[in-house]
Amino acid sequence: MLEAAVFYTLAVLILGLGILVISARSAVHSVLFLVVNFLLVAILYVTLSAQFVAVIQVLVYAGGIVVLYLFVVMLVSLKRAPEQHADTRRLGVTGAVLAGAVLLEVIGIVVSGAARSDAPAGARGAGVPEAISDPMLNTEQIGWVLYTEYLIPFEVASMLLLVAMIGAIVLAKKNL
Protein backbone atom coordinates (compact mmCIF):
# COMPACT_ATOMS: atom_id res chain seq x y z
CA MET A 1 0.00 0.00 0.00
CA LEU A 2 2.72 2.44 1.05
CA GLU A 3 4.86 1.24 -1.84
CA ALA A 4 2.04 1.89 -4.31
CA ALA A 5 1.37 5.37 -2.89
CA VAL A 6 5.06 6.29 -3.15
CA PHE A 7 5.32 4.93 -6.68
CA TYR A 8 2.24 6.72 -8.00
CA THR A 9 3.21 10.02 -6.38
CA LEU A 10 6.71 9.83 -7.84
CA ALA A 11 5.42 8.74 -11.25
CA VAL A 12 2.94 11.61 -11.48
CA LEU A 13 5.56 14.15 -10.39
CA ILE A 14 8.22 12.79 -12.76
CA LEU A 15 5.89 12.83 -15.77
CA GLY A 16 4.45 16.23 -14.87
CA LEU A 17 7.90 17.76 -14.55
CA GLY A 18 8.93 16.08 -17.80
CA ILE A 19 6.03 17.80 -19.57
CA LEU A 20 7.00 21.11 -17.94
CA VAL A 21 10.60 20.67 -19.15
CA ILE A 22 9.55 20.48 -22.79
CA SER A 23 6.77 23.06 -22.56
CA ALA A 24 8.32 25.85 -20.47
CA ARG A 25 8.77 29.13 -22.31
CA SER A 26 12.00 30.19 -20.64
CA ALA A 27 14.97 27.85 -21.03
CA VAL A 28 16.09 28.61 -17.48
CA HIS A 29 12.76 27.35 -16.14
CA SER A 30 13.22 24.23 -18.25
CA VAL A 31 16.58 23.59 -16.62
CA LEU A 32 15.06 24.04 -13.15
CA PHE A 33 12.30 21.54 -13.87
CA LEU A 34 14.90 19.14 -15.25
CA VAL A 35 16.90 19.27 -12.00
CA VAL A 36 13.84 18.49 -9.88
CA ASN A 37 12.90 15.72 -12.31
CA PHE A 38 16.34 14.11 -11.90
CA LEU A 39 16.15 14.36 -8.11
CA LEU A 40 12.78 12.59 -8.15
CA VAL A 41 14.20 9.86 -10.40
CA ALA A 42 16.96 9.44 -7.82
CA ILE A 43 14.32 8.94 -5.12
CA LEU A 44 12.69 6.33 -7.37
CA TYR A 45 16.05 4.51 -7.49
CA VAL A 46 16.21 4.54 -3.69
CA THR A 47 12.80 2.88 -3.50
CA LEU A 48 14.24 0.20 -5.79
CA SER A 49 17.12 -0.21 -3.28
CA ALA A 50 19.73 1.00 -5.78
CA GLN A 51 21.38 3.58 -3.52
CA PHE A 52 24.65 3.81 -5.40
CA VAL A 53 22.97 4.61 -8.72
CA ALA A 54 20.70 7.09 -6.94
CA VAL A 55 23.65 8.99 -5.50
CA ILE A 56 25.51 8.91 -8.82
CA GLN A 57 22.37 10.25 -10.48
CA VAL A 58 22.33 13.23 -8.11
CA LEU A 59 26.09 13.77 -8.25
CA VAL A 60 26.65 13.50 -12.02
CA TYR A 61 23.29 14.46 -13.51
CA ALA A 62 21.80 16.99 -11.12
CA GLY A 63 25.08 18.36 -9.79
CA GLY A 64 27.20 18.20 -12.94
CA ILE A 65 25.52 17.89 -16.31
CA VAL A 66 22.55 20.16 -15.62
CA VAL A 67 24.87 22.86 -14.23
CA LEU A 68 26.56 22.79 -17.66
CA TYR A 69 23.17 23.29 -19.32
CA LEU A 70 22.41 26.18 -17.01
CA PHE A 71 25.74 27.83 -17.87
CA VAL A 72 25.11 27.48 -21.59
CA VAL A 73 21.54 28.79 -21.30
CA MET A 74 22.85 31.83 -19.44
CA LEU A 75 25.71 32.42 -21.88
CA VAL A 76 23.44 32.11 -24.91
CA SER A 77 21.25 35.05 -23.97
CA LEU A 78 18.85 35.32 -26.86
CA LYS A 79 17.55 38.52 -28.34
CA ARG A 80 14.67 36.64 -29.92
CA ALA A 81 13.37 33.29 -28.79
CA PRO A 82 13.93 30.55 -31.39
CA GLU A 83 10.25 29.57 -31.30
CA GLN A 84 9.07 32.94 -32.58
CA HIS A 85 9.56 32.47 -36.29
CA ALA A 86 8.79 28.81 -36.67
CA ASP A 87 5.43 27.37 -37.64
CA THR A 88 4.70 25.94 -34.19
CA ARG A 89 1.25 24.58 -35.03
CA ARG A 90 2.49 22.45 -37.93
CA LEU A 91 5.46 21.32 -35.84
CA GLY A 92 3.17 20.41 -32.95
CA VAL A 93 0.92 18.27 -35.15
CA THR A 94 3.84 16.51 -36.84
CA GLY A 95 5.56 15.94 -33.50
CA ALA A 96 2.42 14.56 -31.88
CA VAL A 97 1.79 12.16 -34.78
CA LEU A 98 5.38 10.88 -34.80
CA ALA A 99 5.45 10.54 -31.00
CA GLY A 100 2.13 8.70 -31.15
CA ALA A 101 3.67 6.22 -33.59
CA VAL A 102 6.61 5.66 -31.23
CA LEU A 103 4.15 5.28 -28.31
CA LEU A 104 2.24 2.56 -30.21
CA GLU A 105 5.48 0.75 -30.95
CA VAL A 106 6.58 0.90 -27.29
CA ILE A 107 3.16 -0.33 -26.10
CA GLY A 108 3.39 -3.18 -28.59
CA ILE A 109 6.81 -4.18 -27.30
CA VAL A 110 5.70 -4.00 -23.67
CA VAL A 111 2.51 -6.01 -24.25
CA SER A 112 4.18 -8.69 -26.37
CA GLY A 113 7.00 -8.84 -23.84
CA ALA A 114 4.57 -9.22 -20.93
CA ALA A 115 2.84 -12.05 -22.81
CA ARG A 116 5.97 -14.22 -22.55
CA SER A 117 7.33 -12.98 -19.26
CA ASP A 118 8.86 -16.35 -18.30
CA ALA A 119 12.26 -15.45 -19.69
CA PRO A 120 14.75 -18.33 -20.01
CA ALA A 121 17.30 -18.70 -17.26
CA GLY A 122 20.07 -17.90 -19.71
CA ALA A 123 18.79 -14.34 -20.00
CA ARG A 124 20.45 -13.56 -16.73
CA GLY A 125 23.87 -13.68 -18.34
CA ALA A 126 26.53 -16.23 -17.58
CA GLY A 127 29.11 -15.83 -14.87
CA VAL A 128 27.59 -12.70 -13.37
CA PRO A 129 27.27 -12.70 -9.58
CA GLU A 130 23.70 -12.26 -8.44
CA ALA A 131 22.79 -9.49 -6.08
CA ILE A 132 21.93 -10.25 -2.52
CA SER A 133 19.13 -7.93 -1.56
CA ASP A 134 21.02 -6.35 1.32
CA PRO A 135 21.04 -2.60 0.76
CA MET A 136 24.14 -2.15 2.90
CA LEU A 137 26.18 -4.08 0.31
CA ASN A 138 24.85 -2.42 -2.85
CA THR A 139 27.93 -0.24 -3.49
CA GLU A 140 30.40 -3.02 -2.82
CA GLN A 141 28.63 -5.43 -5.15
CA ILE A 142 28.43 -2.89 -7.97
CA GLY A 143 32.15 -2.33 -7.48
CA TRP A 144 32.83 -6.05 -7.84
CA VAL A 145 30.79 -6.39 -11.04
CA LEU A 146 32.21 -3.17 -12.50
CA TYR A 147 35.88 -3.97 -11.87
CA THR A 148 35.85 -7.67 -12.75
CA GLU A 149 33.25 -8.54 -15.36
CA TYR A 150 33.02 -5.09 -16.96
CA LEU A 151 36.60 -3.86 -16.54
CA ILE A 152 37.27 -3.31 -20.25
CA PRO A 153 33.98 -1.45 -20.91
CA PHE A 154 34.79 0.64 -17.85
CA GLU A 155 38.20 1.56 -19.29
CA VAL A 156 36.59 2.36 -22.65
CA ALA A 157 34.05 4.59 -20.90
CA SER A 158 36.81 6.50 -19.13
CA MET A 159 38.61 6.88 -22.49
CA LEU A 160 35.38 8.26 -23.95
CA LEU A 161 35.17 10.80 -21.15
CA LEU A 162 38.77 11.86 -21.75
CA VAL A 163 38.13 12.31 -25.48
CA ALA A 164 34.94 14.27 -24.73
CA MET A 165 36.84 16.50 -22.32
CA ILE A 166 39.53 17.31 -24.88
CA GLY A 167 36.90 17.77 -27.58
CA ALA A 168 34.90 20.20 -25.47
CA ILE A 169 38.01 22.26 -24.72
CA VAL A 170 39.01 22.37 -28.40
CA LEU A 171 35.49 23.41 -29.43
CA ALA A 172 34.92 26.03 -26.79
CA LYS A 173 38.30 27.74 -26.65
CA LYS A 174 38.64 30.61 -29.10
CA ASN A 175 42.34 30.20 -29.87
CA LEU A 176 44.50 27.41 -28.53
Binding site: S26, V28, H29, L32, V35, L39, Q51, F52, V55, I56, V58, L59, A62, G63, G64, V67, L70, F71, M74, P135, M136, L137, N138, T139, E140
Partner: protein, 332 residues
Amino acid sequence: MLETFIIPLLQIAVLLNAVLVAVTFMVLMERKVMAWAQARLGPMRVGPHGILQAIVDPIKLILKEDITPVAADKWVFTVAPIMSLVPALVVFSVVPFGPDPLYYVADINVGLLFIVAVTSIGVYGIILGGWSSNSKYPLLASLRASAQLISYEIAVTMTLVSVILTSGTLSLVGIVEAQREAGVWFGFIQPVAFVLVFIGGLAETNRVPFDLPEAETELTGGFHTEYSGMRFALFFLAEYANIIVISAIVAIMFLGGWMRPFPNVEALAFLDLIPPWIWLIGKIFLFLYVFIWIRATLPRYRYDQLMRLGWKVLIPIAIGNLVITGIVKVLV
Protein backbone atom coordinates in the same frame (compact mmCIF):
# COMPACT_ATOMS: atom_id res chain seq x y z
CA MET B 1 5.62 3.06 13.96
CA LEU B 2 7.70 4.48 16.79
CA GLU B 3 10.98 3.48 15.24
CA THR B 4 10.16 4.25 11.61
CA PHE B 5 8.49 7.63 12.04
CA ILE B 6 8.41 9.20 15.49
CA ILE B 7 12.05 8.86 16.55
CA PRO B 8 13.50 10.04 13.20
CA LEU B 9 11.10 12.99 13.16
CA LEU B 10 12.17 13.98 16.67
CA GLN B 11 15.82 13.60 15.69
CA ILE B 12 15.30 15.78 12.62
CA ALA B 13 13.53 18.45 14.68
CA VAL B 14 16.31 18.55 17.28
CA LEU B 15 19.00 18.58 14.60
CA LEU B 16 17.44 21.39 12.55
CA ASN B 17 16.95 23.59 15.59
CA ALA B 18 20.46 22.87 16.81
CA VAL B 19 21.95 23.80 13.42
CA LEU B 20 19.96 27.03 13.16
CA VAL B 21 20.87 28.08 16.70
CA ALA B 22 24.50 27.15 16.04
CA VAL B 23 24.47 29.36 12.94
CA THR B 24 23.19 32.42 14.81
CA PHE B 25 25.79 31.96 17.52
CA MET B 26 28.50 31.35 14.94
CA VAL B 27 27.78 34.78 13.48
CA LEU B 28 28.24 36.28 16.93
CA MET B 29 31.41 34.23 17.45
CA GLU B 30 32.75 35.45 14.12
CA ARG B 31 32.17 39.08 15.04
CA LYS B 32 33.72 38.65 18.47
CA VAL B 33 36.81 36.74 17.29
CA MET B 34 37.35 39.21 14.44
CA ALA B 35 37.06 42.04 16.93
CA TRP B 36 39.65 40.51 19.26
CA ALA B 37 42.00 39.89 16.34
CA GLN B 38 41.71 43.57 15.42
CA ALA B 39 41.91 44.84 19.04
CA ARG B 40 38.25 45.94 19.11
CA LEU B 41 35.40 44.93 21.39
CA GLY B 42 32.80 43.82 18.86
CA PRO B 43 29.07 43.87 19.68
CA MET B 44 28.61 44.91 23.31
CA ARG B 45 25.17 46.57 23.52
CA VAL B 46 22.61 43.74 23.64
CA GLY B 47 22.92 41.64 26.79
CA PRO B 48 26.12 40.98 28.72
CA HIS B 49 29.07 41.25 26.31
CA GLY B 50 26.62 41.31 23.40
CA ILE B 51 25.54 37.68 23.77
CA LEU B 52 21.91 38.42 22.91
CA GLN B 53 23.04 39.88 19.57
CA ALA B 54 22.61 36.33 18.20
CA ILE B 55 18.87 36.55 18.93
CA VAL B 56 18.36 40.15 17.88
CA ASP B 57 19.93 39.75 14.43
CA PRO B 58 17.45 37.10 13.17
CA ILE B 59 14.52 39.14 14.53
CA LYS B 60 15.76 42.16 12.62
CA LEU B 61 16.03 40.14 9.40
CA ILE B 62 12.52 38.70 9.80
CA LEU B 63 10.99 42.13 10.40
CA LYS B 64 12.71 43.85 7.47
CA GLU B 65 10.85 44.55 4.25
CA ASP B 66 11.24 41.84 1.63
CA ILE B 67 11.94 43.56 -1.69
CA THR B 68 11.66 41.91 -5.10
CA PRO B 69 13.28 43.92 -7.94
CA VAL B 70 10.84 44.88 -10.69
CA ALA B 71 12.90 43.33 -13.48
CA ALA B 72 13.55 40.10 -11.58
CA ASP B 73 12.25 36.70 -12.64
CA LYS B 74 9.97 36.48 -9.58
CA TRP B 75 9.46 32.75 -9.58
CA VAL B 76 13.16 31.87 -9.78
CA PHE B 77 14.00 34.73 -7.43
CA THR B 78 11.86 33.08 -4.75
CA VAL B 79 13.05 29.53 -5.36
CA ALA B 80 16.80 30.29 -5.39
CA PRO B 81 17.32 30.86 -1.62
CA ILE B 82 15.37 27.69 -0.86
CA MET B 83 17.47 25.65 -3.30
CA SER B 84 20.53 27.01 -1.57
CA LEU B 85 19.45 26.27 2.03
CA VAL B 86 17.74 22.87 1.72
CA PRO B 87 20.81 20.85 0.57
CA ALA B 88 22.91 22.41 3.33
CA LEU B 89 20.44 21.17 5.94
CA VAL B 90 19.75 17.76 4.32
CA VAL B 91 23.42 16.83 4.64
CA PHE B 92 23.16 16.78 8.45
CA SER B 93 20.94 13.69 8.26
CA VAL B 94 23.98 11.45 7.74
CA VAL B 95 26.36 13.17 10.18
CA PRO B 96 26.85 10.79 13.14
CA PHE B 97 27.14 12.48 16.55
CA GLY B 98 27.82 9.21 18.36
CA PRO B 99 28.23 5.44 17.96
CA ASP B 100 24.59 4.64 18.74
CA PRO B 101 21.64 4.85 16.26
CA LEU B 102 20.09 7.45 18.56
CA TYR B 103 22.84 9.92 17.61
CA TYR B 104 22.26 9.94 13.84
CA VAL B 105 19.19 10.06 11.59
CA ALA B 106 20.53 7.60 9.01
CA ASP B 107 23.63 5.52 8.43
CA ILE B 108 23.65 4.70 4.71
CA ASN B 109 26.25 2.73 2.81
CA VAL B 110 26.91 5.67 0.48
CA GLY B 111 27.15 8.31 3.24
CA LEU B 112 30.16 10.22 2.00
CA LEU B 113 29.01 10.18 -1.65
CA PHE B 114 25.61 11.37 -0.41
CA ILE B 115 27.23 14.40 1.22
CA VAL B 116 29.25 15.23 -1.90
CA ALA B 117 26.19 14.78 -4.13
CA VAL B 118 23.79 16.84 -2.03
CA THR B 119 26.19 19.72 -1.47
CA SER B 120 26.72 19.88 -5.25
CA ILE B 121 23.01 20.78 -5.58
CA GLY B 122 23.60 23.95 -3.54
CA VAL B 123 25.31 25.62 -6.51
CA TYR B 124 21.91 26.09 -8.20
CA GLY B 125 20.81 28.51 -5.51
CA ILE B 126 23.86 30.66 -6.21
CA ILE B 127 23.59 30.62 -10.02
CA LEU B 128 19.83 31.19 -10.10
CA GLY B 129 19.92 33.83 -7.37
CA GLY B 130 22.45 35.83 -9.36
CA TRP B 131 20.69 35.33 -12.68
CA SER B 132 17.15 36.03 -11.55
CA SER B 133 18.08 39.35 -9.90
CA ASN B 134 18.54 40.74 -13.43
CA SER B 135 21.44 42.90 -12.30
CA LYS B 136 25.01 42.79 -13.51
CA TYR B 137 27.01 42.54 -10.28
CA PRO B 138 25.03 39.61 -8.86
CA LEU B 139 25.33 37.83 -12.22
CA LEU B 140 29.11 38.27 -12.32
CA ALA B 141 29.40 37.16 -8.71
CA SER B 142 27.24 34.09 -9.25
CA LEU B 143 29.28 33.03 -12.31
CA ARG B 144 32.46 33.44 -10.26
CA ALA B 145 31.00 31.55 -7.32
CA SER B 146 29.74 28.62 -9.33
CA ALA B 147 32.96 28.28 -11.36
CA GLN B 148 34.93 28.31 -8.12
CA LEU B 149 32.63 25.78 -6.46
CA ILE B 150 32.75 23.36 -9.38
CA SER B 151 36.55 23.59 -9.73
CA TYR B 152 37.28 22.96 -6.06
CA GLU B 153 34.65 20.24 -5.80
CA ILE B 154 36.77 18.10 -8.14
CA ALA B 155 39.86 18.44 -5.94
CA VAL B 156 37.93 17.75 -2.73
CA THR B 157 36.15 14.71 -4.15
CA MET B 158 39.38 13.25 -5.50
CA THR B 159 40.97 13.71 -2.10
CA LEU B 160 38.03 12.10 -0.31
CA VAL B 161 38.50 9.02 -2.54
CA SER B 162 41.97 8.45 -1.07
CA VAL B 163 40.49 8.58 2.45
CA ILE B 164 37.82 6.09 1.37
CA LEU B 165 40.64 3.80 0.17
CA THR B 166 42.20 4.00 3.64
CA SER B 167 38.96 3.35 5.52
CA GLY B 168 37.46 0.80 3.13
CA THR B 169 33.93 2.11 3.60
CA LEU B 170 31.72 5.02 2.52
CA SER B 171 29.57 5.02 5.64
CA LEU B 172 30.49 7.85 8.02
CA VAL B 173 29.94 5.63 11.06
CA GLY B 174 32.18 3.04 9.40
CA ILE B 175 34.89 5.66 8.79
CA VAL B 176 35.01 6.58 12.48
CA GLU B 177 35.05 2.91 13.47
CA ALA B 178 37.90 2.32 11.01
CA GLN B 179 39.88 5.02 12.81
CA ARG B 180 39.26 3.25 16.12
CA GLU B 181 40.53 -0.02 14.63
CA ALA B 182 43.55 1.65 13.04
CA GLY B 183 44.30 3.16 16.46
CA VAL B 184 45.12 6.53 14.91
CA TRP B 185 43.18 9.45 13.44
CA PHE B 186 43.25 9.57 9.63
CA GLY B 187 44.61 13.10 9.92
CA PHE B 188 47.95 11.50 10.74
CA ILE B 189 47.78 8.77 8.07
CA GLN B 190 46.58 11.19 5.38
CA PRO B 191 48.04 14.61 6.28
CA VAL B 192 48.06 15.78 2.64
CA ALA B 193 44.41 14.89 2.23
CA PHE B 194 43.61 16.67 5.51
CA VAL B 195 45.15 19.93 4.30
CA LEU B 196 43.63 19.61 0.81
CA VAL B 197 40.10 19.02 2.08
CA PHE B 198 40.43 21.94 4.46
CA ILE B 199 41.62 24.32 1.72
CA GLY B 200 38.96 23.01 -0.63
CA GLY B 201 36.37 23.54 2.10
CA LEU B 202 37.46 27.17 2.48
CA ALA B 203 37.01 27.64 -1.26
CA GLU B 204 33.69 25.83 -1.50
CA THR B 205 32.16 27.94 1.24
CA ASN B 206 33.50 31.14 -0.37
CA ARG B 207 35.51 32.10 2.71
CA VAL B 208 38.57 34.32 2.88
CA PRO B 209 41.08 33.98 1.16
CA PHE B 210 38.77 32.62 -1.57
CA ASP B 211 35.85 35.05 -1.11
CA LEU B 212 36.10 36.42 -4.66
CA PRO B 213 32.34 36.00 -5.27
CA GLU B 214 31.63 38.36 -2.38
CA ALA B 215 34.45 40.81 -2.94
CA GLU B 216 32.74 43.95 -1.62
CA THR B 217 35.23 46.29 -3.23
CA GLU B 218 34.56 44.96 -6.75
CA LEU B 219 31.08 43.49 -6.74
CA THR B 220 29.22 45.45 -4.04
CA GLY B 221 28.20 42.29 -2.18
CA GLY B 222 27.99 39.12 -4.20
CA PHE B 223 25.18 37.14 -5.78
CA HIS B 224 22.71 38.18 -3.04
CA THR B 225 23.08 41.94 -3.57
CA GLU B 226 19.44 42.33 -4.65
CA TYR B 227 18.07 40.22 -1.82
CA SER B 228 16.76 41.65 1.42
CA GLY B 229 14.91 40.58 4.56
CA MET B 230 14.21 36.91 5.15
CA ARG B 231 15.25 35.75 1.69
CA PHE B 232 18.69 37.23 2.25
CA ALA B 233 18.69 35.51 5.65
CA LEU B 234 18.10 32.15 3.94
CA PHE B 235 21.24 32.63 1.80
CA PHE B 236 23.10 33.68 4.91
CA LEU B 237 21.93 30.59 6.81
CA ALA B 238 22.90 28.33 3.91
CA GLU B 239 26.40 29.80 3.80
CA TYR B 240 27.03 29.27 7.50
CA ALA B 241 25.34 25.85 7.54
CA ASN B 242 27.74 24.85 4.75
CA ILE B 243 30.69 25.98 6.86
CA ILE B 244 29.45 23.80 9.72
CA VAL B 245 29.01 20.87 7.29
CA ILE B 246 32.59 21.19 6.04
CA SER B 247 33.88 21.41 9.62
CA ALA B 248 31.87 18.32 10.58
CA ILE B 249 33.15 16.33 7.59
CA VAL B 250 36.76 17.24 8.32
CA ALA B 251 36.30 16.43 12.02
CA ILE B 252 34.72 13.05 11.26
CA MET B 253 37.11 12.00 8.52
CA PHE B 254 40.40 13.22 9.95
CA LEU B 255 39.98 13.83 13.68
CA GLY B 256 38.08 10.72 14.74
CA GLY B 257 34.56 12.17 14.87
CA TRP B 258 32.89 11.53 18.22
CA MET B 259 35.86 9.66 19.73
CA ARG B 260 38.01 11.11 22.49
CA PRO B 261 41.73 11.65 21.75
CA PHE B 262 43.79 8.43 21.88
CA PRO B 263 40.80 6.05 21.98
CA ASN B 264 43.09 3.05 22.53
CA VAL B 265 44.94 4.40 25.57
CA GLU B 266 43.34 2.97 28.74
CA ALA B 267 44.90 5.60 31.00
CA LEU B 268 42.73 8.30 29.40
CA ALA B 269 39.45 6.43 29.97
CA PHE B 270 38.21 9.19 32.29
CA LEU B 271 37.72 11.33 29.18
CA ASP B 272 34.81 9.05 28.26
CA LEU B 273 32.79 10.81 30.95
CA ILE B 274 32.24 13.52 28.38
CA PRO B 275 29.50 12.26 26.01
CA PRO B 276 30.51 11.59 22.36
CA TRP B 277 28.37 14.35 20.81
CA ILE B 278 30.20 16.96 22.87
CA TRP B 279 33.51 15.72 21.50
CA LEU B 280 32.27 16.08 17.92
CA ILE B 281 30.76 19.52 18.53
CA GLY B 282 33.99 20.60 20.21
CA LYS B 283 35.99 19.52 17.16
CA ILE B 284 33.54 21.30 14.86
CA PHE B 285 33.93 24.52 16.84
CA LEU B 286 37.71 24.17 16.69
CA PHE B 287 37.45 24.26 12.89
CA LEU B 288 34.96 27.12 12.96
CA TYR B 289 37.48 29.06 15.02
CA VAL B 290 40.22 28.31 12.46
CA PHE B 291 37.93 29.51 9.64
CA ILE B 292 37.39 32.82 11.44
CA TRP B 293 41.07 33.10 12.37
CA ILE B 294 42.03 32.70 8.68
CA ARG B 295 39.48 35.36 7.75
CA ALA B 296 41.06 37.79 10.18
CA THR B 297 44.58 37.04 8.94
CA LEU B 298 44.86 36.45 5.19
CA PRO B 299 44.31 38.79 2.20
CA ARG B 300 42.16 37.85 -0.77
CA TYR B 301 43.38 35.97 -3.87
CA ARG B 302 43.13 37.38 -7.38
CA TYR B 303 40.72 35.44 -9.62
CA ASP B 304 43.33 33.94 -11.98
CA GLN B 305 45.47 32.95 -8.98
CA LEU B 306 42.48 31.22 -7.47
CA MET B 307 41.78 29.21 -10.62
CA ARG B 308 45.46 28.36 -11.06
CA LEU B 309 45.65 27.12 -7.47
CA GLY B 310 42.57 24.94 -7.97
CA TRP B 311 43.38 23.37 -11.30
CA LYS B 312 47.18 23.34 -11.46
CA VAL B 313 48.10 22.71 -7.83
CA LEU B 314 45.30 21.12 -5.80
CA ILE B 315 43.96 18.67 -8.41
CA PRO B 316 47.42 17.27 -9.37
CA ILE B 317 48.30 16.87 -5.67
CA ALA B 318 44.95 15.15 -5.07
CA ILE B 319 45.56 12.71 -7.95
CA GLY B 320 49.13 12.05 -6.76
CA ASN B 321 47.90 11.42 -3.24
CA LEU B 322 45.29 9.02 -4.58
CA VAL B 323 47.86 7.07 -6.61
CA ILE B 324 50.29 6.85 -3.69
CA THR B 325 47.52 5.73 -1.34
CA GLY B 326 46.56 3.03 -3.84
CA ILE B 327 50.14 1.78 -4.17
CA VAL B 328 50.62 1.69 -0.40
CA LYS B 329 47.30 -0.08 0.01
CA VAL B 330 48.35 -2.78 -2.49
CA LEU B 331 51.84 -3.23 -1.00
CA VAL B 332 50.92 -3.28 2.70
